[in-house]
């Protein structure tokens, strides 16, 4: 086992939208250095805080997605701070940032400058709409990026406004897309010897999450629609999320070879509890085609499945699903996820020691591999934790760093 990205140095100037980029690259073994202003990234001031105590090193958003990084504070609005950043960039392979387009250039840290100082450096910029184009200057955030992607319009109930996920999924999609861009640029650099500017947009990254539906518009004419806990299928809408005794489960009436055994097994399971009608038992799932049903037929099926689910808990139904290969899943909250037997068997959760604050249970590796280590390498950095260590790599002593701190540069 070794590290895919060992020896790769990454400067991470991102705010919340880009946190995941550096985190996954750090999990793959890159040396990721988080660069923050002396008063810290704004995420450090955002609740919820660990133990409810407002503290720059206890913000759960900060702690969540900045693991596997070291941290340095540098004031990039000061000449000396910019000089130090350029000195770090000369020794780095990648710089990742999420400022409004043009911000770095205005500070004398634009692509042309960085490229001139270090032709091998890769600059990756993650922004709401991209570096160029008519909306490049627009402000954006998760809500507005998802709104402009087509995905929001079709999420939610028909009688209410389109609705987003309460955590920022566009930052996850975009953050991962940026990490892919960095790795592709590293592969390309092996051949060309040169870095390049990688431009990732949240809006564009949120189009594929509609799984091709956007591209299909020219063929289907379908602009999308909100159908609540349902899904459109053929001429009907079919329930996808069902109430059960203590929460909700996800289950689809859609057929096809992969799903047929599950539909048979579900009816058999219901029958054992005396809750499958003769009519349901008579359905031939092998020839069943969800695209050809009428809404009345869908509704009749829905009543029977729904009545059964209402008698069972999420845990009971999922246990049955795993034992009987039913395509049904609980709508998990963090509570069920942390208690998962499957995740425990795979040692997914790990305890991360946060110096001075204690241990915290984290989701661990995003993949298991036989050949490269994927793991949380270190806790999220405390504010300025590695400033002395990292500036020492540039030949600065502790005294120099003290002076920089006194001057408000570090």
């Amino acid at each position: 086992m070794s590290d895919a990205l060992s020896g790769i140095r990454i400067l991470d100037l991102t705010h919340e939208p880009g946190f995941l980029t550096g985190k996954v690259l750090g999990d793959l073994g890159a040396d990721v250095v988080k660069v923050e202003p002396p008063d810290g990234d704004p995420a450090r001031r955002r609740p919820p805080f660990w133990g409810g105590r407002p503290d720059a090193d206890r913000s759960l958003l900060w702690l969540a997605l900045n693991t596997s990084k070291r941290g340095i504070t540098l004031a990039l609005d000061r000449q000396r701070g910019r000089e130090l950043l350029l000195a770090l960039a000369e020794r780095a392979d990648v710089l990742v940032e999420s400022e409004t387009p043009g911000t770095l250039r205005a500070r004398g840290l634009g692509w042309e400058t960085l490229h001139a100082r270090n032709p091998r450096l890769i600059l990756c910029s993650l922004t709401p709409f991209g570096q160029t184009g008519p909306r490049a200057g627009w402000r954006g955030s998760d809500l507005t990026a998802v709104a402009a992607s087509g995905n929001l319009y079709s999420t939610g109930d028909p009688d209410r406004a389109p609705v987003r996920c309460s955590l920022p999924v566009s930052y996850y999609h975009g953050g991962l897309e940026a990490a892919v861009g960095v790795v592709f640029a590293l592969l390309a650099r092996d051949a060309t010897g040169e870095g390049q500017h990688v431009d990732v947009a949240l809006q564009a990254a949120m189009v594929m999450p509609s799984i091709g539906t956007a591209a299909m518009f020219r063929m289907t004419g379908l602009r999308g629609a909100r159908v609540g806990a349902f899904m459109s299928a053929g001429r009907t809408v079919q329930r996808e999320i069902w109430p059960c005794r203590d929460g909700f489960v996800s289950f689809a009436l859609r057929g096809g070879p992969a799903r047929v055994p599950g539909l048979f097994a579900m009816v058999a399971y219901m029958d054992e509890h005396g809750m499958a009608s003769e009519r349901l038992k008579a359905v031939d799932w092998k020839t069943y085609n969800h695209n050809l049903l009428t809404q009345a037929e869908v509704d009749a099926l829905t009543r029977e499945f729904g009545a059964f689910f209402a008698t069972k808990t999420m845990a009971e139904l999922y246990q049955a699903a795993c034992a009987r290969n039913l395509m049904l899943a609980p709508v998990n909250t963090a509570r069920e996820i942390v208690a998962s037997e499957q995740l425990a068997a795979r040692h997914f959760f790990v305890e991360v020691e946060n110096p001075g604050r204690g241990r915290l249970r984290y989701p661990g590796a995003f993949a298991a591999t036989s050949g490269q280590t994927v793991a949380i390498r270190r806790p999220a950095p405390r504010l300025g934790e590695h400033t002395v260590e990292i500036l020492a790599e540039l030949g600065l002593g502790e005294r120099d760093v003290e002076r920089l701190r006194a001057e408000g540069v570090a």
């Binding site: 008519p134 809500l143 992607s149 319009y153 609705v163 309460s166 790795v183 799984i211 602009r223 499957q342």
Partner: protein, 406 residues
């Protein structure tokens, strides 16, 4: 100039969305991606909307077509040893193998990593499924809708007083390909440096949970379960989606996010500083959070009088974060996506000219390309066997006559 992955071959088993989207990153930069398919057990997307009258049958799926651009298709009967033998020869020759079958399927054919690596020590292979290749629930058979539920996305999406809805489009099917492309890219880099291959086990549920680490920590650190909260934010107000004047017979909306007190003053200016808005109590986020419902109603009174595009432009001009809520049709007229050439047209044998999308990364020194449409089932069987395996006409004929080539 050749593309980044010119000369790189990836063999793909499986189907649906999660697997095929991942290999597109490589295909769009010049890799030869070969799908091993079956007519007897077709890709889920080839039959998702299939009816007896679908033009082109298995080749007429628009959904398959938009996701599988730039790939080749080889149709083999894997229930026959000769079919498996051909697939094995292709796998041993490929730079990487990607599969998203249920765990155990590849082993049944002797096409799993443990078997292939015997003959190909530097093999790079990724297996992705909902729950991963190990553990008591590895054989659990769900699709993306179930992955989204298991990973916690559905619970966090929707209105607090209603049932959860889940983000449109089974989110683990679109997050996991990004992880897969990252892992495959890193594995190719790793092999280039060390000569070592590897097997990657990507659980779509686990990878999704890593994204939601903030929700997990909120529970493990503080014992609190995060709940869905409609479009509101714990950190900003107003933060929502507001009805605009209908246009084209459709409901139109604008999304508005007021992140701090300066944003609020900008918004108040755009609204023309009405009496209700200049109240000192609303000058702080905390004050606005307290009266969020009232502010949302007031703001919607204003947005109702104009089109979504006008409202968004007016707000953006004043420096307020806002965007029109676009539907799938609107995206094809979106000036920013057009500038990035997000959609590009390919010519499909059955469906004709149609747009497909590429990824969201733009490189200063290399351009993604959509050169060929999604393949009809088995369209490249002979080509691939002849060109890549060097198979002669006689063997091809024998395999075809025996029904091994579908």
């Amino acid at each position: 100039m050749s593309a980044l992955f010119t000369g790189t071959t990836i063999l793909e088993f499986g189907g649906g969305a999660a697997g095929p989207i991942a290999t597109r990153y490589f295909a769009d930069h010049g890799a030869t991606v070969i799908r091993v398919e079956s007519r007897r057990r077709p890709d889920f997307l080839r039959i998702l909307r299939l009816t007896p009258t679908t033009p082109g049958g298995l080749d007429g799926s628009a959904h398959f077509a938009v996701l599988n651009v730039n790939k080749l298709s080889v149709a083999l009967d894997l229930s026959r040893p000769e079919g498996v033998a051909v697939a094995r020869r292709l796998a041993l020759l490929a730079d990487a193998v990607a599969e998203n079958f249920a765990p155990g399927a590849m082993a049944k054919w002797g096409l799993d990593y443990a078997s292939l690596v015997q003959e190909r020590p530097d093999l790079v292979m990724i297996s992705t499924c909902l729950n991963g290749q190990t553990g008591p629930h590895r054989h659990y058979p769900g699709f993306g809708g179930q992955g989204s539920a298991l990973a916690g996305f559905n619970h966090l999406t929707g209105w607090p007083d209603r049932e959860p809805v889940g983000p449109f489009g089974t989110i683990t099917d679109s997050l996991s390909p990004r992880y897969a492309a990252l892992l495959l890219g890193a594995a190719l880099l790793h092999r280039r440096r060390t000569g070592e291959g590897q097997h990657i086990d990507l659980s779509q549920v686990e990878a999704g949970i890593v994204c939601l680490t903030e929700s997990i920590l909120t529970y493990t650190a503080n014992g609190e379960v995060l709940e869905r909260m409609g479009n509101r934010s714990r950190h900003a107000a107003p933060h929502g989606v507001f009805r605009c004047a209908d246009a084209g017979g459709r409901d139109r909306w604008v999304a508005v996010a007021v992140h701090d007190d300066e944003d609020w003053q900008r918004l108040v200016d755009v609204l023309g500083r009405p009496a209700w808005a200049v109240e000192p109590a609303l000058a702080t986020t905390a004050g606005r959070q307290e009266r969020a419902a009232e502010l949302e109603a007031r703001l919607e009174e204003w947005t109702r009088t104009q089109t979504a595009a006008d409202a968004a432009v007016r707000l953006q001009t004043a420096g307020v974060d806002a965007a029109p809520v676009e539907d799938f049709g609107d995206l094809h007229d979106d000036p920013q996506l057009a500038h990035r050439r997000h959609f590009r047209t390919v010519e499909h044998d059955v469906l004709g000219a149609h747009p497909a999308e590429t990824h969201a990364i733009r490189f200063s020194a290399m351009e993604p390309r959509l050169d060929a449409p999604a393949p009809c089932l088995g369209a490249h069987t002979e080509y691939v066997l002849r060109e890549l395996l060097g198979m002669g006409a006689e063997e091809l004929e024998r395999l075809r006559a025996a029904g091994v080539l579908e």
